[in-house]
């Protein structure tokens, strides 16, 4: 099983995609960022931008969690409702 990667907000415009499956599964969140940055330097930079957070399986995460097949990773620029 692959990893599911989601981009939200302006990250979608930077990358030109919203959702993809990724195989093989990188071991950690930072390894996933590296894989994406090697393919698309602009996206790699945007993922490290001010206020961009990551959620693993719909829970906000801090640090560098390990990833497993079937996980859903979302990259979230600053949020704003209302």
């Amino acid at each position: 099983m692959a990893l599911k990667v989601l981009l939200m907000g302006r990250l979608r415009d930077v990358a030109g995609w919203r959702e993809r499956r990724l195989e093989p599964v990188p071991a950690t969140l930072s390894a996933l960022r590296d894989v994406l940055a090697r393919e698309d330097a602009a996206l790699g930079e945007a993922l490290l931008g001010m206020g961009v957070q990551a959620a693993v399986n719909k829970a906000l995460t801090r640090g560098d969690p390990a990833l497993a097949a079937g996980d859903e990773i979302a990259f979230l620029p600053p949020m704003s409702g209302g």
Binding site: R10, A74, P77, G81, G82
Partner: protein
């Protein structure tokens, strides 16, 4: 109660339903957020909000729970739209009912500050000058910082 939906909603109808039969509450406060036809002078033809299904609802439900713990409210309602929204249409409706007005005012004010800076939506304005992503403004973060951490 919370609802996150793409369908348009009518704030007046929500207020009518929310206030009906309340003989235990002296105060009902409502906030309606409307899509503007211009931001800082730039015309806006459509506002588009993206949500992250599941994650967005859960984050808003947490905010509602924290507001109930913080203020003496009898009831709260949060309805938030996503998808494309035209000028003058409602984006968000928040209502609070309380025995005394201060709790109702503060709960709705608090929820709007949380929603503006922490609700998982991403907003893009589309107009004749192109698209732009809208992120919280400095006053939004300043407003949110008025409330002590949970």
């Amino acid at each position: 109660m919370i609802a996150v939906q793409t369908e348009p909603f009518d704030p007046a109808a929500l207020l009518a339903r929310f206030s009906a039969g309340r003989t235990d509450c002296g105060a009902v406060v409502s906030f309606t957020g409307l899509a503007r036809a211009a931001t800082d002078g730039a015309e806006v033809s459509t506002l588009e909000l993206d949500a992250y299904p599941g994650f967005t609802e859960a984050a808003i439900a947490t905010m509602e729970t924290e507001a109930r713990e913080r203020f003496a409210v009898k009831d709260l309602l949060i309805v938030h739209r996503h998808g494309p929204i035209g000028p003058g249409e409602a984006i968000v409706f928040v209502a609070g009912a309380a025995e005394h007005r201060r709790d109702a005012f503060e709960a709705v004010d608090y929820l709007m500050d949380r929603l503006k800076t922490q609700a998982p939506f991403w907003k893009k304005e589309t107009g004749p000058d192109g698209d732009r992503w809208i992120e919280p403004r400095a006053p939004d973060y300043a407003d949110a910082a008025r409330w002590s951490p949970p």
